[in-house]
C-alpha cells in the first residue's frame, strides 16, 4: 500500500523536523531557553506542522482528483465502436477499471504481447480466479484501455510520491530556515491549530450542504424523467421497472402521517403523564427505579423495536383484534407500526416534558398551593398552561422523529401503498398494511439499482421531501421551545 508508506515517510520527516527545529532554536539561544520567544517545543512543532500540512493537503487533493482525471483521459481514447448496444461509456469504463485492477493483481508485464481471442479469454478466466468476475468477454479495446489506465495510474502514483515528498521537504526547509530565537513560534503554531479547529467545526455545515446538494441533483434528474406534478399531486404509487410507472408521494405520505398520528396518540399521553408523575408525585424509590427504566427504552436500537413489531405485536394484534373484528388478516399494519413507534417515543416525550415542567418556576407552584389548590389542580391549571408552548414543541419534535423513523415501519407496516380509489374505509382502517415514505426510500434504493431510471431516482425526491418536512418541524419546535425557555429565565 504505497499511500500508507507515503504517509509514514512524511510523518517520519515531521518527527525528525521536530527534533531539528527544536535544537536549532536552542542553538540560536546559546542553549538557554529563557532567551527564546516561545518554549522550545513550539519551534519543533512549527517545523513538524509545516511539513505535515502541505504534504497531506496535496496528498488528499491528488487522491480526490486522480481517479476523475485518469478516467477522463482513458475514456477519451476509448473509440465509440467499443461501446456495444444497450451499454454506455460509464459501464465500459467500470469494466476497464476492473480489468486494470485485475492486471495489477495478476502482475502482468506492461510490455505488449500479441493480443488475440485466446489471450483475452485466458485473461478472463485468470481474472475470475483472483476474484474479478466480468459479465461479458473482454474486448481488445477494453484491454488496451485497461492497460493505458494501469500505466496512467502507475505514472500518476510516481508523480504523487515525488510531489508529496517534495512538499514535505520544502515545508521543512522553509520553517527550518526561519527558526531562530526571535521567531514567534507559539503564535504561528496556535494560529495553525485554530484553523484546524475551525475546519472541524465547518464539517457540520459541509454535511448539511452535502445532504441537500446530493439529493437536489438527483431530484432534478428525477423531475427531468418524470413530471413533478405527477409526483406531488398524483394519487397512485405503482412503480414498474419496465417503465411507465406512477410515482406519487401522496399515498406514501398518507401512510406516514397515519402511522405517526397513532404513534403520537400512544406516546404523548403516556409520556406526558409519566413525566408529570415522576417529577411531581413519585417517591424517591419509585423515581430511581422507573426513570432509568424509561430512559432504557430510548437506548434500544430501532431494529429491536422493528423485530418486536414483526414477531410479537403484529401477530398479537392480528389474532386478537383484526381477525375477530374482520378488519384484516395482515400482521403488519398501521396499528402495529404505530403502537410500537409510540412505545419508542415514550421516553422521548417524557424526558422533554420533564425538562419543560422542571423549568416552570417553583414560585408559580407555591402561589397556587397558597390559594388552596390541590396538587393536580396546580398541575392542570398552572403548570400545564405555563408549559404548554414547550410541550407543543416536544410533540412536534416527536412527530418529526416518527415521520423519519425507518426500521419499525420497514418491518411492521407492510409494503403496499395506500390506495385512494378503494374508498375511505380502507384508508382509515388501522389494521390494513400501509407503506410509508421511508419504506419506499429503502426499497427503491436497495438491491439492483439503475441510477438512470425514475424508479430509483424517485427515492431521492422522497428523501428530499422527508428532509424538508422534518427540518421544518424541527426548526418550528426548537423556535417554540427556545422562546418559551426565555420567558422564565
Amino acid at each position: 500500500m504505497p499511500v500508507l508508506w507515503l504517509i509514514l515517510i512524511v510523518t517520519a520527516i515531521a518527527v525528525v523536523g521536530y527534533g531539528l527545529g527544536r535544537s536549532r532554536a536552542m542553538a540560536s539561544a546559546d542553549g538557554d531557553s529563557r532567551k527564546l520567544h516561545s518554549l522550545p517545543g513550539f519551534y519543533g512543532l512549527n517545523v513538524a506542522l509545516t511539513v505535515l500540512t502541505p504534504a497531506f493537503g496535496l496528498l488528499a487533493v491528488w487522491l480526490i482528483i486522480q481517479p476523475v482525471w485518469i478516467d477522463r483521459q482513458v475514456s477519451s481514447t476509448l473509440p465509440d465502436s467499443a461501446i456495444s448496444e444497450g451499454s454506455s461509456r460509464g459501464l465500459i469504463m467500470s469494466d476497464v477499471r476492473r480489468v486494470a485492477e485485475g492486471l495489477e493483481v495478476l502482475d502482468r508485464p506492461t510490455s505488449s504481447e500479441t493480443i488475440d481471442e485466446s489471450y483475452l479469454s485466458d485473461l478472463k478466466s485468470d481474472l475470475g480466479s483472483v476474484g474479478i468476475a466480468l459479465g461479458s468477454d473482454i474486448k481488445a479495446e477494453v484491454y488496451h484501455a485497461a492497460r493505458d489506465y494501469r500505466a496512467a495510474l502507475a505514472k500518476s502514483g510516481l508523480w504523487m510520491t515525488m510531489a508529496v515528498i517534495a512538499a514535505a521537504l520544502g515545508g521543512f526547509a522553509v520553517s527550518f530556515i526561519v527558526t531562530d530565537r526571535d521567531f514567534r513560534a507559539r503564535n504561528t503554531v496556535e494560529r495553525g491549530i485554530l484553523i484546524v479547529l475551525v475546519a472541524a467545526a465547518s464539517i457540520a455545515v459541509l454535511t448539511t450542504l452535502g445532504v441537500i446538494l446530493s439529493m437536489l441533483f438527483e431530484t432534478r434528474s428525477f423531475f427531468e424523467a418524470h413530471p413533478w406534478t405527477d409526483f406531488f399531486f398524483g394519487l397512485k404509487w405503482a412503480p414498474d421497472f419496465r417503465g411507465d410507472s406512477e410515482l406519487a408521494i401522496l399515498p406514501l405520505l398518507w401512510g406516514t402521517l397515519y402511522i405517526s398520528f397513532i404513534a403520537l396518540l400512544v406516546s404523548v399521553p403516556i409520556g406526558l403523564f409519566a413525566a408529570i408523575y415522576l417529577s411531581e408525585y413519585a417517591s424517591k424509590r419509585v423515581r430511581t427505579f422507573a426513570k432509568p427504566a424509561i430512559e432504557l427504552l430510548a437506548g434500544i436500537p430501532t431494529i429491536v423495536y422493528g423485530l418486536f413489531a414483526l414477531i410479537t405485536v403484529g401477530p398479537l394484534l392480528r389474532d386478537y383484534f383484526a381477525l375477530p373484528m374482520g378488519l384484516g388478516e395482515s400482521a403488519s399494519s398501521v396499528a402495529t407500526a404505530g403502537l410500537v413507534m409510540g412505545i419508542m417515543l415514550i421516553p422521548f416525550v417524557s424526558s422533554l416534558s420533564d425538562d419543560i415542567i422542571n423549568a416552570v418556576p417553583q414560585a408559580m407552584r407555591d402561589g397556587s398551593y397558597g390559594l388552596g389548590a390541590t396538587q393536580s389542580e396546580t398541575i392542570r391549571q398552572v403548570i400545564i398552561p405555563a408549559a404548554l408552548p414547550g410541550i407543543v414543541g416536544a410533540v412536534l419534535l416527536a412527530a418529526s422523529r416518527a415521520i423519519g423513523e425507518t426500521m419499525i415501519v420497514v418491518l411492521g407496516a407492510g409494503a403496499a401503498a395506500a390506495q385512494f380509489d378503494r374508498g375511505l374505509g380502507d384508508l382509515v382502517n388501522p389494521f390494513q398494511a400501509m407503506t410509508t415514505v421511508t419504506v419506499k426510500i429503502v426499497s427503491q434504493l436497495t438491491g439492483d439499482t439503475d441510477f438512470a431510471s425514475p424508479e430509483t431516482l424517485v427515492a431521492f425526491a422522497l428523501g428530499l421531501s422527508l428532509f424538508v418536512m422534518t427540518l421544518g418541524l424541527n426548526v418550528l419546535a426548537l423556535w417554540i421551545v427556545r422562546r418559551y425557555r426565555e420567558q422564565y429565565e
Partner: protein, 443 residues
C-alpha cells in the same frame, strides 16, 4: 378551588363535604393516571425484553450429531497420490455419500428400526459435507481412516428439540418427515445426538437460506467492530476540535450561528437521510466500494458527530471559569489554557459522550441498508487497513437480513442476534456510567 362560595363554613374540618370529596377524588384519579402511565412504560420495556429473550435464547443452543465417518480413499483420492490439486477436485457432493454411509452405520449399530424411514442423512445439515471437505483438505493424511466428527443437525431437527417443529407439522413439510424425527429421538436416546452451546452462532459467517443452523454473526460482528473503529477514529478528534472552537474560541458572528444551527438540525435529521448522503457522495461520487465498513463508518461518523459535539460542549462548559482565569493569569496562552487544563478536566465527560454516541451508531440500521450492507457476505473482511474496504455486514443489518428470510429458524437467529447486540450496548453504557461515576468532578 374555583367555587369558594359553594362550601359554606357550617361543616367540621374533620368531615369532608361533597365538594372536597370531589376534589380529592379528582386528585386521586389524576395521580392514578400518572402511575398507570409509568406502569405502562415499564411494562412495555419488560414485555419487549422478555419477548426478545424468549424468542432468541434458543439461538445460542444448537443440536449436534456425533458420527464416525470413514474417509474412503476410493472416493476421495482415486489416484492415491494425495495431491492437493486432485483432492480439491472432489466437491462437497463427493463427500455427501460418506455421511450417508456413516449415518446408516450408526442406525444399524444402535439397532434402531423405524418403519418407512427414508433418507436418514436429512438429519445432518448440508453444511456437514463442506465441513468434512475442509477437514480433509487441511489434513490429507487422514484419508482412509475413520474419525469422529461433530456435525450440525439440520434446522428442522434443531427446531424439533426446541419445540418449533412437531410430528404433525413434519407431515406437511417437504424438508423433513415424522419418521426422521423419530430417528432423531432414537439417536438422542443413544447419545449420538445432543444439544449444546453453539459458539458457531457468534463466530461463523452467515449461511444461505437453506441452512439456518449454520448461520452465525462472525462477519457482522467484525464488520460492526471495523465501523466502530472508523467512527471512533474520526468522530472523536473532529467532534472535540469542533466543540473546543465553538465553546472556547468562536466569536459571536454569522458563521458561528450557522454552525450552531447546523449542528442542532443534524442531530434531528432522520437517519435514513444520512444513508442517501452516503450513497450519493461516498459511493456514487467518490467511488468507494459498496458494503465496505469504511463507507458505513463515514456515514455513522456524520450521524454521531452532533451527539459527541453536544456532550463535549456540556463537559467543557462544566469546567469552571476560575480554572481558565488562573491559567491565563500565570501567562498561559488561550490555546495552552485549553490543552493543558480545560481539556484534561473535561475528558471524562467527553469520553462518556463518545461511548454513548458509539452505542447509538452501533444500533443504527437504516443508513447502512442504503450503502449496500444488506449484501450476502460469507467471507470475513481482511485485516485493517485493507479490511476496511472489503465487503462486510453489520450486526443490526444482519438482524434485518434474517427477518427477511422464509425459514422460521431465522426468526430465532434474529432474536438471538438482538441479544448479542443488546449485550454489547449494555457493556458500552455500563462503561460510560462507570467512567462518569469514577472520574466526574463536581465543582
Amino acid at each position: 378551588m374555583t367555587e369558594v362560595s359553594a362550601s359554606p363554613h357550617s361543616a367540621s374540618l374533620l368531615v369532608q363535604d361533597a365538594h372536597t370529596k370531589k376534589r380529592n377524588a379528582a386528585e386521586a384519579r389524576f395521580r392514578l393516571y400518572g402511575a398507570i402511565a409509568v406502569g405502562i412504560s415499564v411494562l412495555c420495556l419488560v414485555f419487549l425484553l422478555v419477548s426478545i429473550a424468549r424468542n432468541g435464547a434458543g439461538a445460542f443452543l444448537q443440536t449436534f450429531v456425533t458420527l464416525e465417518v470413514t474417509l474412503d480413499e476410493a472416493k476421495l483420492d482415486k489416484k492415491g497420490n494425495r495431491d492437493p490439486a486432485d483432492l480439491a477436485k472432489v466437491s462437497t457432493f463427493g463427500y455427501a455419500p460418506l455421511i450417508k454411509t456413516a449415518m446408516n452405520t450408526v442406525i444399524e449399530a444402535e439397532g434402531i428400526e423405524i418403519d418407512g424411514l427414508k433418507k436418514p442423512e436429512a438429519l445432518i445439515s448440508k453444511e456437514a459435507a463442506a465441513q468434512l471437505r475442509n477437514f480433509v483438505l487441511a489434513n490429507p493424511e487422514v484419508i482412509g481412516e475413520t474419525h469422529e466428527f461433530l456435525f450440525l443437525a439440520s434446522g428442522r431437527i434443531d427446531g424439533y428439540f426446541k419445540g418449533r417443529v412437531t410430528l404433525e407439522s413434519a407431515g406437511l413439510d417437504s424438508k423433513i418427515t415424522p419418521e426422521q424425527l423419530l430417528l432423531a429421538d432414537a439417536l438422542k436416546d443413544a447419545g449420538a445426538l445432543e444439544t449444546r452451546f453453539n459458539w458457531g452462532f457468534i463466530t461463523s459467517p452467515d449461511a444461505s437460506e437453506n441452512r439456518p443452523e449454520a448461520s452465525g454473526l462472525g462477519v457482522a460482528i467484525l464488520g460492526s467492530f471495523y465501523m466502530m473503529l472508523v467512527v471512533l477514529a474520526l468522530s472523536l478528534p473532529i467532534g472535540v476540535a469542533a466543540s473546543i472552537y465553538l465553546e472556547e474560541f468562536a466569536p459571536k458572528n454569522w458563521f458561528t450561528d450557522l454552525v450552531e444551527v447546523n449542528i442542532s438540525n443534524l442531530a434531528a435529521v432522520p437517519s435514513i437521510v444520512f444513508g442517501i448522503l452516503g450513497l450519493a457522495i461516498f459511493i456514487n461520487f467518490a467511488g468507494l466500494p459498496q458494503s465496505a465498513p469504511i463507507v458505513g463508518g463515514l456515514v455513522l461518523t456524520l450521524m454521531t458527530l452532533p451527539t459527541i459535539i453536544i456532550a463535549t460542549r456540556a463537559a467543557l462548559k462544566a469546567v469552571p471559569p476560575s480554572i481558565r482565569e488562573a491559567a491565563l493569569g500565570v501567562g498561559a496562552s488561550r490555546m495552552q489554557t485549553v490543552t493543558h487544563h480545560v481539556l484534561p478536566l473535561a475528558m471524562p465527560g467527553i469520553l462518556t459522550g463518545t461511548i454513548i454516541g458509539l452505542a447509538q451508531a452501533l444500533g443504527e440500521t437504516a443508513p447502512l441498508l442504503l450503502i449496500g450492507m444488506v449484501a450476502f457476505v460469507r467471507e470475513y473482511p481482511g485485516a485493517p487497513p485493507e479490511g476496511f474496504f472489503d465487503p462486510a455486514s453489520a450486526l443490526p443489518v444482519q438482524i434485518f437480513n434474517w427477518t427477511q428470510r422464509a425459514d422460521p429458524a431465522f426468526v430465532e437467529r434474529a432474536s438471538g442476534a438482538i441479544i448479542v447486540l443488546l449485550l454489547f450496548l449494555l457493556i458500552m453504557n455500563t462503561l460510560a456510567i462507570i467512567l462518569r461515576r469514577r472520574f466526574e468532578r463536581r465543582w
